[in-house]
Amino acid sequence: MTRIDAKFASLKANGKKAFVAYVMAGDPDYETSLEIVKGLPGAGVDVIELGLPFTDPMADGATIQLAGQRALAQGQTLVKTLELARRFRETDDTTPIVLMGYYNPIFSHGVDRFLNDAKAAGIDGLIVVDLPPEEDDELCRPAQAAGLNFIRLATPTTDEKRLPKVLQNTSGFVYYVSITGITGAANAVATDVGPEVARIKSATDLPVIVGFGIKTPEASQKIAGVADGAVVGSAIVDLIGQGKSPAQVLAFVKTLSDGAHAA
């Protein structure tokens, strides 16, 4: 049982929805980023999604593209991202960390070496945007074997026929992408998302968390209300990009998590 499984079991036991926050590792710089990440559990975050910077984030909108560029300009790398996770783990041994990014930095590091290093750093799960089920041999299977959760994205284009394939090697939770589009673009609509989540839940026992297009405490509450939890990324990253202090960023995160937890 990973920290992710444990967290969702305890949320379920308490009848609570999950709040997941995404931040880019190393944005705006390593130390500030570490301070923000360390503050997330206190701001009500149940699962941390830690962005792994990449030069070519094809599924991300301008907000997260720029966050990655800021981090890379400050010298952030995969190695430093794992180091950041390790330093977070010194202060928190229960909040799960899901590393979210693209495959090339991982492939470049070497899959086996990466899995060892990620485990040692206290990473619990992986979301790798450009690895669909068709490429499971690359990282998904080795990651599961190494005891890391591999969290898959299901999308509005994942039809009935395809859903079993998407769910097959997924563990931890299922991440439902609420819109066809990039991060930070359109708004998620609870009345559209609800039936889709129900469709996925009828095919799996895993928790279904919804992300993309959730920007306010109200939306966080509404979407969490029709799923097992909500993810907010761009809206938080936007504040970091505006140069807001960690305290200001975390205060906003608290309003989002309160929203989800009120659902």
Binding site: P53, F54, T55, D56, P57, M58, A59, G61, A62, Q65, L72, T77, L78, V79, Y102, Y103, N104, P105, I106, F107, S108, H109, V129, D130, L131, P132, P133, E134, E135, R152, L153, A154, T155, P156, T157, T158, D159, R162, V166, V177, T180, G181, I182, A185
Partner: protein, 410 residues
């Protein structure tokens, strides 16, 4: 079975879209169903005579195929060695090989009922070809082009606008082809129902590398027949420039199993293949990685971050290369070399002066390599190079590089 069929180089990719370890389908889940759909449609079209009849008709009457195979007599004399032929794809409608592929993809898009076409472009040739065919069929066309390329390929931007396309300048990254491709993929993820992504080279997720190759293979098929007519035999060496690698794959593919034909791809060496990475030579100066849906050789740093290439030629300015080339490189069936900006400019001038052909900067790279090797080869050695584009689009860049003031020229 004859020996040369047992070891065919022409059977790839496999059902996972791999050429050896290269290729694949590294895309987000949102795009995966679209790519599978495209693959199914392409597989159907491939064996449908109606599809190829339509292609052949348009290739002949709209594009002007077959393109001539031309003996470059004065160039041959000047270089004083091998006999040099040019496959004249610069004479195609729109001025480059790009339209060979665009026709195929747009006919496919129409069969699939798609009404909105998106494309990325570097030099603007693929954008112009896409805008052209969309105008012909009354389809909406949006072209993503790096802001830096918009600046250095102005004539093509104007042509696309005349043809009714929306040209979207891309400012992310360094504003070149790679970034335009990212934004095109972002558009596709957003507009999944009505949009067809018309990729301009043999890159992207499966089935694009194979599909684009199959459409461009008309170049090599014609060249083979024409060479038989002209010389009664196959060429000894075939040479083409490589950005993503589509004109090269188009020429090379039909020759892959002709073991006596040596195959040379020419990458853009920019200011020289050095540590500063001021070049676009993915095979010579890169290592395998994953970008834009496939595994291939890429220019990248130690952390797997993609580096921006550098070349005087906007069409070669791409940090990757089609996966089939990576495979041909690794197994040694083709040889890959690089040519610098300066060498390409010299070849550009040489071609203008000796043959009365103003070449694009991209094939000028191929020609520069021809100029390098031809003098040392015997006069019965036949080289066929792919003159894949004409230089009208490049005259401003060349004028600047040669220090000419166009405003003063008379």
């Amino acid at each position: 079975m004859p020996e040369d069929l047992i070891n065919s180089f022409m059977t790839g990719p496999d059902e996972t879209g791999r050429f050896g370890q290269f290729g694949g389908r590294f895309v987000s889940e949102t795009l995966m169903p679209l790519i599978l759909d495209l693959e199914a449609e392409y597989e159907k079209a491939k064996t449908d005579q109606n599809f190829w009849d339509e292609m052949d008709f348009l290739w002949k009457h709209y594009v002007g195929r077959p393109s001539p195979l031309y003996f470059a007599e004065r160039l041959t004399e000047r270089l004083g060695g091998a006999k040099i032929y040019m496959k004249r794809d610069e004479l195609n409608h729109t001025g480059a090989h790009k339209i060979n592929n665009v026709l195929g993809q747009i006919i496919l898009a129409r069969r699939m009922g798609k009404t909105r076409i998106i494309a990325e472009t570097g030099a603007g040739q693929h954008g112009v070809a896409t805008a052209t065919v969309c105008a012909k069929f009354g389809l909406k066309c949006i072209v993503y082009m790096g802001a830096h390329d918009v600046e250095r390929q102005k004539p093509n931007v104007f042509r696309m606008k005349l043809l009714g396309a929306d040209v979207v300048p891309v400012t992310s990254g360094r504003g070149t082809l790679k970034d335009a491709m990212n934004d095109a993929l972002r558009d596709w993820v957003t507009n999944v129902r009505d949009t067809f992504y018309c990729i301009g080279t043999v890159a992207g997720p499966h089935p694009y590398p194979a599909m684009v190759r199959d459409f461009q293979a008309i170049i090599g098929k014609e060249a083979k027949v024409q060479m038989q007519e002209a010389e009664g035999r196959l060429p000894d060496t075939i040479i083409a420039a490589i950005g993503g690698g589509s004109n090269a794959m188009g020429l090379f593919y039909p020759f892959l199993d002709d073991k006596d034909v040596s195959i040379i791809g020419v990458e853009a060496g920019g200011k020289g293949v050095n540590d500063k990475m001021e070049h676009c030579a993915s095979l010579t100066g890169g290592r395998p990685g994953v970008l834009h849906g496939n595994r291939t050789y890429l220019l990248q740093d130690d952390d797997g971050q993609i580096l921006e290439g550098f070349s005087i030629s906007a069409g070669l300015d791409y940090p990757g290369i089609g996966p089939e080339h990576s495979w041909l490189h690794d197994i040694g069936r083709a040889q890959y070399v690089s040519i610098t900006d300066v060498e390409a400019l010299d070849a550009f001038k040489l071609c203008c002066e000796t043959e009365g052909i103003i070449p694009a900067l991209e094939p000028s790279h191929a020609l520069a390599h021809v100029a390098k090797i031809a003098p040392d080869l015997p006069s019965d050695h036949i080289i066929c190079m792919n003159m894949c584009g004409r230089g009208d689009k490049d005259i401003f860049t060349v004028a600047k590089a040669l220090g000419w003031d166009m405003a003063e020229a008379d």
